[in-house]
Structure formats: C-alpha cells, structure tokens
C-alpha cells in the first residue's frame, strides 16, 4: 500500500480507488492535545486543496485540506467521542476519512515518506 504526504501535513494511504486520509505524527505533535475534530459528511465531494475537516487542540484550530479530490466514503466517527486517538495513533487508528478518489493521478504530486521526512527537518 502506498503512503503519500502533503506539505500541509496530511497523509494518504491508497488502496485501489480508495484513499484513507489523516494528519501526520509531526502535525499531531505540533498541535498538542487534540480536543475536537470536525469531520465532513458522507458523500461530500472535495477538490484537492479544499478544506475538508477541522482539528482543534488546546493551542490552535487548524483546517485539514483534501490531499486529493474525491467523495467522502466514510468518516472516522470514533474521533468525535475520542479525539485523543489522533495523538495516540495519528497514522493508524486516528484516520479522518476515506475518499473515493476522482483523479488518482493527483497522487503523483505528493511526497513519499523520505521526501516528507526531509521536508519536516527543513521546517
């Protein structure tokens, strides 16, 4: 399974035409304790780069952008009752949504793990 990263610290895990999206470990650490996650409704379509969810920590509220265009298949409802999951396991149990991708070629513009690691070191 391919995992890609954006400059806005989202990760995308690709399985066929479905992409699972969340925020990276780096982002979760920078945000601090997450206290609230606002997720999109099922069936909502977002274009790449559009604001898709909101994550709120004790320090700040941040928008989460759609890393690729697509339609929301499923939102991780456990985050509503247990936002701390984002801190505990950001790149696993703390996923935000799954998307049905409308243009998988958009993935080509994203970073792989090594490139993202280098990107974070430069921040």
């Amino acid at each position: 399974m391919t995992v890609k990263y954006t400059e806005d610290h989202e990760w995308v895990k690709v399985d066929g035409d479905t992409a699972t999206v969340g925020i990276t470990k780096y982002a979760a650490e920078q945000l601090g304790d997450v206290v609230f996650v606002e997720l999109p409704e099922q069936g909502r379509s977002s274009n790449k780069g559009e604001e898709m969810a909101v994550v709120e920590s004790v320090k700040a509220a941040s928008d989460v952008y759609a890393p690729v265009s697509g339609i929301v298949r499923e939102a991780n409802e456990t985050l509503e009752g247990a936002p701390e999951t984002v801190n505990k396991d950001p790149e696993g149990e703390g996923w935000f949504v799954t998307l049905l991708m409308s243009d998988p070629s958009e993935l080509d513009g994203l970073m792989d793990e090594d490139a993202y690691k280098k990107f974070c070191e430069g921040l």
Partner: protein, 530 residues
C-alpha cells in the same frame, strides 16, 4: 508603676527549618480557600420562615412553582465574603503589570474615572430629550473630532461596542458599498494575512465573505508576492483585512503599496486598529489609503477592559465608505432657533442627504462612559502627549526585547513596535511556552500572550504599554530572564508551575474535551455518608 518592658517579639523567629505544608483549612495564609457557592449551601439556615397563609386562593393557577428554586442558601456576610474572596483571586492592571500581547493593558488614569462620574455624564439617559443633554452630545462631537484628526479619515461611527463589533461595522459598510455598486454578488473574497488579528477572518466570514489567507514573509510581514499573485488570479476581491502594526508587533512597511493594489483591484481596505497605540499621533491611517478602521478606546485611549469595563470600538471611515456608516448619525437641528446636536435615526430625518446606512448596530449611541474616559485621556495628554504615548510604548517593548534577546529568541530581526515577540527556540527539549507562562504566575505576573500569532512557533507576545516604568520593566525582565535560563537548561520544575497560585496547573485538555459547565448536587446517599 512597673513598665512592661517585654512586649511581644517584633522580629520573626528563625524558623526556616519548619516547612509550610498544607493547612488544615486548605487556605494559604490570608488567601482563604473558597469552595463553589453551591457547595456552601445551607438553605435551611437562611431567610425567614413565614407562616402559611390561610384563606387566600392562589391566582397563579397551573404556573405555581412545584420544585425548589435551587439557589444556594447563604447569610449576607457569607455571600459578601464569597465574592470578595473570589475577587482577591483576580489579577488586574491595578495589581500589577499585565503583559498580554495585543491587548494593550495600560493603566486606567483616575482622572478619567472622576470625569465619568460627573452627574451630567453619569446620570443621564439615552431617551432623555436631546436639548437636556447638549453637554454630553458636545463631548461625543469633540471626541469624534479628535478621532478624525488623529486618523485623517472622513467620518466615524461611534456606536460599535468593542473591537470585533467595530470590525463588523466596517465590513458591513464595505458590503453596503458593494451593494450600492451592484457588485455584492460578484465580489465575495476578503484577503486576510496570517499576521492579522484572529478576529479578522471571523468578521469577514460573519459578513458573508469568503476568507482567503495570505502568507507572512520571512520578516513577519505580508508576503507581497503571495498578495500580487492572489490579485492576479482572482477577480472577485471585496477587500483586505489587515492589522497594522500587525500581530507580530511589526509595522507593515508595504502598506501604501498594499492599499494601491487593493484599490486597483476594485476592493476596499479594512485596517484593524487594535494596535493603534503604537502609532497614535505619529501615523494617520487616512494617509495610508485605509477605508475603514476601528479604534479600541479600551486599548489606545486607556478606558478599562478585560472584565474591568465595557469595550468601545468607534470605526472611522474613508470618503468612499462614509455614506454607509450605521445609524444613528449626529446632526445639527436648527429648527428651534438655536443649533442643537441631535441624532438622525432615519432617512426622513435627513432631507436632501444621500446616505445609505447599513442599518443600526446598537440600541442607542454607544458606550457613553467610555467616551468620557477616552476624551479625558486625550485632553490630558494633548496632541504632543499622544505622540509620546506611541513613542514610549514602542520604546518599552524594544527595551524588553533588548534585555531578553540574549536568553530568549526574538521571532524576527530588528526593532519591534509596541510588542516584543519571541519564539520557543531557546527552550530545552521538553520545555514548552506554556511552562514559561505558568512560571510567570509564580513570579506574580499575568502571563504574556502565548501560542499566538500562529506564524511563530511557541509564540510569546509581550506588550508592556507606555504606562510601565523602567523599574517595573526591570523587575519583569529579571523574572522572565530567570525563567528563560531555567527553560534553556531544561529545569523539570517548570513543568509543575505554578506552585504558589491558589490553583495549580489545570488540565486544559480535559476541560476542553469534557467541559463541566454545570454544578450538579452530589447524590443524597453520598451526602448522608459525609
């Protein structure tokens, strides 16, 4: 007569070896432990029991109260003490320096208070006949004149009741102007730089605009390349909302060019005037091409705030927006053989005028008590004194930056304006901005603004204002310098601060995730067990 030569000892015994452990009552010296008012409830022991009335039929019908009112029962001295004890927990500008960046917590001169209590200002009512309050009306007029002179703007709306309300007033005026141009549906985009105040994007959204963020450059100012490319790629610009000096405590040096670019794109320029204190008497916003700006009387003009008093956010407008200022508008009524200042509430009150006000923002004319205080401040300083206000505010902030830059990391190079901004780069692994802020509480200071602006990592924003003396600034810097050194060394004690405050560090995460907003009585069996 024998003299009593003993008396009581006047010096403390050497008792350093005795540790001050927790007290039996939970109080710390004369700072009493105070439970919630509901927890002190002894309903049965308060009030007077009246005999049941006989032979009177209730006329309340089905609306008779069936359950207890559930108010706590306290005797009068208990109630008084409860609130006085709570008030002792309060940190106030009258108690010490309040370095909260972006808030301009300056001293509230007592002369202002004396003026505001004059019966001609304090005891009047907004529904009184205007002919009986001409003195108060003239005071508002005088304040309007000062605000227009200081900003070189065309008109001013006095009714907004706080900064964000003033933003709302200005942005509604912009929307109204776009409606008048027939472009309200096509111009929806408001640009907001990352260095602007947090309320700016919220206001734009509230007024129905789409918010589009512009980045900050390496110098902490508006990224001009980003702005230019936004203007080139979009054709729906309604305007820009910018804070100057910005939230990084820096003057937006390209402001004239920004104004020209926005105007060329057909938009309006809103400037957040919350930081006007840094430039008052020195820079006139009207000269910079600004179309609308609110002025926080409770910051720049020393009226109380932060729980101490209501805010007041008069909004100055350029000639282009002037006709859209909200009702009421001050006019001169000459129909009684003399010139009376009065308010127009409706188009019919202003025959021959082509104003198109956005409507009404408040029930009456605004915060009269704050108008009196602000004018008292302005007049006691005079034009030359106000110039010095800006100068001293900037000097004080730069003094703090200069004194602390060897132990803390200034966020940007060069001089700052009225507030000094540091990042958390100097701290050792594991020590965060919040640990430094909480340690300041132990030193007797209200913490600085932290984690804002977002463009700086672990931001610490310190605004001393002009009213702190050098001696006080030194005391503050000594304390913060000491904490900063410990933070750089990674002193684990900082993680537990504050130690000497009435409450230790609170669990903000838990409070945000599972807020308890209502007191619930303990279960009856639990009460019996106690």
């Amino acid at each position: 007569m024998t003299m009593n030569t003993t008396g009581r000892p006047t010096a403390p015994a050497h008792a350093d070896h005795i540790s001050g452990d927790a007290t039996i009552s939970g109080s710390k010296g004369l700072l009493q432990h105070e439970p919630l008012i509901f927890e002190t409830d002894r309903w049965a022991e308060t009030g007077v029991d009246l005999p049941k009335t006989k032979g009177v039929k209730s006329r309340l019908g089905g609306v008779t109260r069936k359950a207890d009112v559930q108010l706590p029962g306290l005797s009068e001295p208990e109630a008084v003490r409860h609130y006085v004890r709570l008030s002792q927990r309060n940190y106030a500008i009258d108690l010490g320096m309040f370095p909260l960046g972006s808030c301009t917590m300056k001293h509230n001169p007592r002369l202002n208070e004396k003026m505001a209590r004059l019966p001609g200002f304090a005891d009047i009512h907004p529904l009184q006949p205007f002919r009986s309050i001409q003195g108060a009306m003239e005071l508002i007029k005088e304040l309007e004149d000062w605000l227009l002179k200081l900003t070189n703007m065309h008109s001013v709306a006095m009714s907004p009741k706080a900064g964000a309300h003033g933003e709302y007033c200005g942005m509604m005026a912009i929307r109204q102007a776009l409606i008048a141009r027939g472009e309200s549906e096509t111009r929806k985009r408001v640009l907001v730089p990352a260095s602007a105040h947090g309320t700016n994007p919220a206001t734009a959204a509230q007024c129905g605009f789409i918010v589009d963020e512009i980045g900050a450059d390496k110098r902490g100012r508006v990224d001009m390349d980003d702005l230019r490319s936004k203007l080139e790629t979009t054709d729906d610009i309604a305007g820009i909302m910018l804070t100057n000096p910005n939230t990084c405590g820096l003057f937006e040096t390209d402001i004239r060019e920004i104004a020209d670019l926005i105007h060329d794109a057909g938009g309006y320029f809103y400037c957040d005037g919350a930081n006007f204190n840094a430039i008052v008497g020195r820079v006139r916003p009207g000269d910079l091409g600004i179309d609308a700006m609110h002025i926080n009387l409770h910051k720049t003009f020393s009226t109380p705030h932060g729980g101490g008093g209501p805010g007041s956010g008069p909004t100055v407008l350029s000639e282009a927006l002037s006709g859209f200022a909200p009702w009421p508008l001050m006019v001169v009524d000459s129909s009684h053989g003399t010139d009376l200042l009065t308010y127009a509430d409706h188009q019919d009150d202003m025959p021959g005028s082509d104003v198109q006000p956005v409507g009404r923002l408040t029930a009456f004319q605004g915060q009269m008590g704050m108008f009196v205080r602000a004018l008292a401040y302005i007049m006691s300083h005079g034009a030359d004194g106000l110039k010095q206000v800006a100068e001293d505010a900037v000097l004080n902030a730069n003094y703090i930056q200069a004194r602390l830059k060897h132990v803390m990391t200034p966020a940007f190079d060069g001089f700052c304006m009225h507030e000094a901004l540091f990042s958390d780069k100097f701290t050792a692994e594991g020590i965060e901005t919040i640990d430094i802020a909480k340690s300041l509480i132990d030193e007797g200071y209200h913490p600085m603004t932290m984690y804002f602006p977002l463009v700086v990592h672990g931001a610490m924003l310190i605004e001393p204002t002009e009213t702190e003396s050098k001696a006080e600034l030194d005391r503050f810097c000594d304390a913060l310098e000491g904490i900063a050194k410990k933070a750089a060394e990674g002193d684990p004690r900082l993680k537990g601060a504050p130690y000497s405050a009435p409450m230790r560090r609170l669990d903000e995460t838990q409070a945000a995730r599972k807020p308890v907003l209502k007191w619930t009585a303990p279960e009856p069996d639990q009460m019996a067990a106690e």
